[in-house]
């Protein structure tokens, strides 16, 4: 493939750089990020290649894969980068772009877990772990996942059957709706 204005998506790179506050051009491909990444074995594009693809304007190839959803946010890459490329923030930015467009990711379980976790905040204020696990099993179709763990954790008090909602739930809901409003008006990314 030839690199040209037609084959490079500079707009996407710019969005990633704005959201992450970091420049992909600073990377000289030393590969320290991938060497220290505990998750690179699960990714089709290890971290240094994610940055290289961005440098070459090939962001869609990253978004189409599962690499960004297999980043554990352990921050080892950002910690060790000799050029201060904040790769963990780049991963957050790429995930957000994929999330916003409901992009063609190959990794739906991680997205589902994230969605349920965030929904839990809006519905309850604090995490209701039993509901999180049960909803994940129902929605991912893995009805028997960790089935034996549930009673063990319940009997030890590590899972609560019932969970009361926060008293200030209205304030929490207002945060979500104000952010949605800002985005509708184009005042925030």
């Amino acid at each position: 493939m030839c690199l040209s204005k037609q084959t490079m998506n500079a707009g996407l790179v710019k969005k990633v750089e704005t959201l992450s506050g970091t420049s992909v051009r600073r990377c000289f491909q030393c590969g320290k990020c991938s060497a220290g990444c505990p998750m690179s074995g699960f990714m089709e594009h290890p971290p240094n290649r994610v940055v290289r693809l961005l440098q070459l304007g090939q962001g869609e190839r990253i978004l189409a894969g599962r690499s960004i959803w297999y980043c554990a946010s352990c921050e080892t890459c950002s910690t060790r980068c000799p050029n201060k490329v904040n790769l963990a923030a780049i991963m957050d930015a790429l995930r957000k772009l994929s999330w916003d467009t409901d992009g063609p990711s190959k990794e739906s379980y991680v997205q589902l877990a994230n969605r349920l976790f965030i929904e839990n905040i809006r519905t309850y204020g604090r995490q209701y772990e039993l509901r999180l696990g049960a909803a994940f099993n129902m929605k991912s179709g893995q009805f028997l996942k960790d089935l034996m763990l549930g009673p063990k954790l319940l009997s030890r008090g590590k899972l609560k059957m019932f969970h009361s909602k926060n008293k200030n739930l209205r304030d929490i809901e207002a945060i979500f709706s104000r952010i949605e409003e800002m985005r509708k008006k184009g005042e925030a990314l």
Binding site: S73, D92, K96, V110, I118, R126, Q127, N168, I179, E187
Partner: protein
């Protein structure tokens, strides 16, 4: 020595895990503060910090949730004490980002409909015990030194990374956990996986990841001759404790390695009764080890 020392008191952000899956962290944190006569008062109506899922897909939401919690914390006197490494990291990251970025701060202030207070120091209980209270002072309060207990101190990711945010200790070679343990008489071991990721929240979506990563941590601790692992994060605890049986099945190795929270071990050394530290709540029962070491 302490006659002139001001009475320490803190506001407390427990975080969601401490109210359920990490309940023994909550119980033992309160027990340690009580034993040391340090004040600890919950932030009223605190809610989820958003943890990793929120910042993974929506930074503005993550910053806003934390900023609102920081604003609730203003109502309680004292620096903000946090036990969970993830909550600690998110709250400190929020302060760091909003101090350095006016545009983000303005957006967050619209989202929470008020100012984002960034001045209250957010402190992990490790630094409260080791620095504010002080190791020498802590040593004076030890009633039952944890003699002969070999402990693998596990830092995980968020206590020290990225270096510019937590400001807790060296990001590659910290020693605050080991120093704390020595002060209460235990023996920290040298091992390779102190700073490696446990698989974090993949425990829900992709448990296979956790079996691999946490399996390597358990194996490394075993090779170093550790009796147990000490953690500062409820998610790390869950991955190493709750998933240990599956890891053993997969690797055909018996680890039987109890996982302790920092505060459980410190409380034990301070003379708090072992029956009050939630040892019955965990999956890998630590009591046989403690009996064997004559600590229970």
């Amino acid at each position: 020595m302490t006659a002139t020392k001001k009475q320490l008191t803190y506001s407390f952000y427990p975080g969601c895990s401490l109210h359920a899956s990490g309940r023994e962290y909550d119980i033992s944190t309160r027990a340690v503060f009580k034993a040391l006569n340090v004040g600890l008062k919950d932030v009223p109506d605190w809610f989820c910090c958003g943890a990793t899922p929120a910042h993974n897909v929506d930074e503005l939401l993550s910053l806003s949730l934390c900023a609102k919690n920081l604003s609730l914390a203003e109502a309680v006197e004292g620096d903000l004490a946090v036990a969970c490494a993830a909550c600690f990291s998110r709250l400190k990251t929020t302060q760091h980002h909003l101090k350095g970025d006016d545009n983000k701060r303005k957006q967050v202030e619209i989202a929470i409909a008020g100012p984002a207070p960034l001045g209250k120091p957010v402190k992990h209980i490790l630094e409260i015990l080791a620095r504010d209270f002080g190791l020498a002072h802590l040593e004076e309060h030890v009633k039952k030194p944890l003699m002969g207990l070999k402990v693998a101190c596990y830092y995980g990711c968020l206590l020290t990374r990225p270096p510019e945010v937590p400001d807790l200790d060296d990001c590659e070679d910290p020693s605050i956990m080991e120093d704390l343990l020595r002060a209460v008489g235990a023996e920290p071991v040298n091992w390779s996986h102190r700073m490696e990721c446990c698989g974090a929240n993949f425990t829900l979506s992709r448990p296979g990841v956790v079996l691999k990563l946490s399996g390597a941590i358990l194996e490394s601790a075993r090779l170093a001759g550790a009796d147990c692992i000490m953690v500062a994060c409820p998610l790390c605890h869950g991955n190493l404790d709750i998933r240990q049986e599956s890891i053993e099945e997969k690797s055909q190795t018996d680890y039987d390695t109890p996982i302790f929270y920092i505060t459980q071990l410190v409380a034990l050394a301070l003379g708090v009764s072992g029956s009050k530290l939630g040892f019955e709540s965990v999956i890998v029962d630590p009591r046989p080890l403690l009996v064997n070491k004559q600590l229970l």
